[in-house]
């Protein structure tokens, strides 16, 4: 893995969050299997009531999400929507579906093209 790897950065940043409020009710483990060529890069994200432990390894998990590295990089940058990717079959999920719905919240939203409408209003 090169040092400027967006995926590495994403997981490192995720691991530094002591508590993720969007996952406050979530307890369970999710494994991301990122495929490139014949290789699979595995990341394990263990969540305990919003507390997150990330490790760069395989192992059993309650939910396994498999996708290719290029798509995952785009997810990390907010350029892809995880749920649309699931419908497309580009992101394949096994195990606990509720964890999929929960964990997709960690991905950023798309970059904004314009200011939010709420800052436009008068008086």
């Amino acid at each position: 893995m090169e040092p400027a790897d967006g995926i590495l950065q994403f997981f490192q940043e995720l691991g530094r969050r002591e508590h993720e409020p969007l996952l406050a009710k979530v307890t369970g483990s999710v494994r991301f299997d990122l495929v490139e060529g014949g290789r699979t890069d595995r990341w394990l994200v263990a969540v305990h009531k919003g507390g997150i432990v990330v490790s760069h390894q395989g192992g059993t998990a309650d939910c396994v999400i498999r996708t290719d590295r290029v798509l995952f990089e785009r997810l990390c940058r907010g350029e892809e929507n995880a749920m649309a990717a699931v419908l497309r079959g580009a992101l394949v999920c096994s195990g606990d579906v509720e964890l999929l719905f929960a964990i997709q919240r960690i991905f950023p939203g798309p970059a904004r093209e314009r200011r939010p409408l709420s800052s436009v209003g008068g008086s």
């Binding site: 649309a84 699931v86 079959g89 394949v92 939203g109 008086s123």
Partner: protein, 691 residues
């Protein structure tokens, strides 16, 4: 044509065929086998010796099962019934069809039975808009199955067709060469299995999503019987109400939809068959209507909508943090982001209504565990009201789509293009802050405060919410009040001016409690006056408004769902007899539709048409029309949870006579409610004339 269609379904899998059981869909023709918003079979045509068949009769056995009785030949004048054919079809993971051929002759016969099959794998959106496909098709014969498949990049959908009896397979269907003895019978079982996202079962890593998306056909009959058995029993002198109640319960059963993440639990989908998916607004309103009769629908709605609550700002999906979704879809166009429904969030009422439902659910069930579980979601929803919905900068909830291509222009329940207008018929600009949204926001804050005190133990938050609510109420009664008409404006326009048409939305304001007591009487006078009340119900838009049209979708028709909440609102402010009049009108209208209320019917005066004129819509039943009689029942009975007790304070139309609803579930266990009709709901000029 739609008149003769036969529709059966389970969840979001449904089959629409003609009366012969055949499917011959064109690109834009909405017939076929559909599942997860994709068509899995566009052709399914049965012939015997090369001839099409003629229907004798169709049995709608259950909402998930139908039986077709057919004879060979298409001659309609004279049918020589030496042979007959029975197709019995039930929906599951695709569908199963039992095909039976009966020889009525005392001679043996040899027959060629053929089933033609094909599929275009159209997205529901494509069927609506006649769009072209971008992927590729394939057909394969293997393992005794005909596999039809469609692929576009990683997106794949497939249909596998097989028979229990030997047949000759080709790429266009199945052929059976059969011999039938004198008075003999031949049978085969045909299976049509849909494949979403591949078919692997996942092996060691737990079941794949594709596997979990399968909906096996199990015990549907028992499931329906159990559903009916668990519902409260209704006894009544007036037979049409018994019919309507029974119809509502069965239709509500059919409208149950179980998202993949919900396990065995289900929530109400919006309408059958095209809206068999989660809708924030429809699922919440229907759950509210059904609360006195079934509480699991509400719990599942709250959980599933909470799981999909918005967490980021996404203009394409009109998503904001805390926002409750509008609509979820699973088809190809959604998958490739050609449509924003993964899910789409463009709706301004579902978010405050989410908190309203959570509180009402707790009042009925005492289930504080769920309220605690959903604290984060409820707080995020309340936060959305102030943080993201204040588009006019004046503290009111407003909407304006950010997805200008495929987003929704009107994000309130009256979502057609011309539903919001000034008295003179002109349309205001955006953002729009429609009045009922302010009512829902007020109610959400008041109810949120109750839950904060009772369950979340946060009295500071409760105080803040109550202060905000009081402030909103004060400003609303000043800013939205149309002085010379004595009612509330439909909306404020982008400049904060009142859009002054008179609409049914005033009834929702009563329901939410935002109206000053001093103004309530005037509002009720308008709702029950000739301009709004037709005799059957309250019109969406009043007679005399620029855009009024008795058969205009949101500009003059009468919506049973709308009226059920108006009746609830009338009760909330103590106008019991007026509530009974609205209930009587809608329930009497239901009699003309065999107990199944349409989405909307014409706003013509009752004295003019004598019967309610149905507005043509594609979906029937609609969930919130199905729920309307249920809410009207609880409104007429004056059912009101008070602590661990259920208050019953009936105001029943005299036409109903005696009414009993037995075994009403709730935190009290099960209780019965009894009432006798005493309210004269006949038109004012006919009062006193006994029926």
């Amino acid at each position: 044509m739609t008149e003769n269609q036969v529709k059966i379904l389970q969840g979001n899998t449904f089959v629409v065929s003609d009366e012969r059981g055949d499917i011959e869909a064109s690109r834009t023709d909405p017939t076929g086998l559909f599942s997860f918003d994709t068509r899995f079979l566009s052709k399914w045509v049965l012939t015997v010796n090369g001839e099409r068949l003629t229907p004798l009769s169709v049995d709608d056995l259950h909402y998930f099962e139908a039986r077709f009785f057919l004879v060979p030949g298409t001659g309609t004048v004279y049918v020589d019934a030496k042979l007959s054919v029975i197709r019995q079809r039930s929906v599951g993971n695709g569908f199963h069809e039992e095909l039976t051929v009966l020889n009525h002759n005392d001679q043996p016969v040899e027959l060629v039975v053929r089933m033609e099959a094909d599929c275009d794998f159209a997205d529901l959106f494509e069927v609506k808009d006649a769009l072209k496909k971008k992927g590729s098709y394939s057909k394969q014969l293997n393992d005794g199955k005909l596999m039809l498949a469609y692929e576009r990049e990683t997106f794949s959908r497939s249909t596998a067709i097989s028979s229990s009896q030997p047949c000759v397979l080709d790429e266009h269907g199945l052929t059976f060469e059969i011999k039938l003895g004198p008075h003999g019978t031949w049978k085969t079982g045909l299976d049509v299995v849909t494949g979403v996202l591949g078919t692997s079962d996942g092996g060691d890593e737990g079941p794949t999503l594709a596997w979990q998306a399968r909906r096996p056909r199990t015990n549907m009959t028992r499931n329906l019987a159990q559903w009916l058995d668990e519902a409260p029993r209704l006894e009544c002198d007036w037979e049409p109400l018994r019919t309507t109640y029974r119809r509502s319960l069965v239709d509500l059963a059919a409208l149950r939809f179980s998202p993949i993440s919900a396990g065995r639990h289900s929530l109400p989908a919006a309408g059958l068959p095209w809206f068999m998916t989660m809708f924030g607004r429809d699922s919440i309103f229907t759950s509210l209507q059904a609360l006195p009769f079934n509480q699991e629908l509400a719990a599942t709605t709250l959980r599933e909508l909470g799981l999909r609550q918005g967490t980021r700002i996404d203009d394409f999906r009109d998503e904001d943090p805390g926002r409750i979704l509008h609509e979820m879809r699973y088809g190809e166009m959604t998958a490739f982001e050609e449509r924003p429904h993964s899910p789409y969030y463009g709706c301004a009422d579902a978010t405050p209504l989410y908190v309203v439902l959570l509180d009402e659910y707790e009042r009925w069930t005492g289930d504080t565990k769920l309220v605690r579980e959903l604290e984060f979601e409820a707080r995020a929803a309340l936060n959305w009201i102030d943080e993201y919905a204040n588009l006019q900068g004046n503290g009111y909830v407003a909407y304006q789509r950010r997805n200008e291509e495929t987003g929704l222009e009107n994000q309130c329940w009256k979502d057609s293009w011309d539903s919001i207008s000034y008295h003179d018929g002109t349309l205001p600009g955006f953002p729009r802050a429609t009045c009922e949204l302010q009512g829902y926001a007020y109610d959400a804050k008041m109810r949120g405060a109750r839950l904060a005190r009772l369950v979340w133990r946060d009295s500071a938050f409760a105080d803040t919410l109550e202060q905000q609510a009081a402030d909103l109420k004060r400003r609303f009664n000043r800013d939205f009040w149309v002085e010379d008409g004595e009612y509330f404006a439909i909306t404020l326009d982008a400049d904060g001016r009142r859009v002054d048409s008179l609409t049914s939305n005033n009834g929702h304001l009563l329901w939410s409690g935002i109206i000053d007591k001093s103004k309530a009487k005037a509002v009720v006078r308008q709702l029950m006056g000739e301009r709004l009340f037709s005799g059957w119900g309250v019109r969406t838009l009043a007679v005399g408004e620029g855009r009024y049209n008795p058969i205009g979708y949101h500009v003059g028709t009468i919506w049973p769902f709308d009226n059920s909440f108006i009746a609830w609102g009338l009760r909330r402010y103590g106008f019991k007899e007026e509530a009974a009049r609205v209930a009587a009108g809608i329930l009497e209208a239901a009699e003309f539709f065999d107990g199944r209320l349409p989405e909307a019917f014409g706003g013509y005066p009752r004295s003019m048409t004598k019967y309610p004129v149905q507005y043509p819509t594609a979906c029937s039943p609609q969930a919130w029309s199905t729920g309307a009689p249920l809410l009207l029942l609880s409104t007429m009975l004056g059912l009101e949870p008070l602590g661990d007790h259920l208050l019953v304070d009936p105001a029943l139309p005299s036409t109903i006579g005696h009414l009993e609803v037995l075994d009403i579930p709730g935190r009290w266990g099960r209780v019965d409610a009894f009432a006798r009709g005493r309210v004269d709901t006949s038109p004012p000029n006919r009062r006193g004339q006994a029926r």
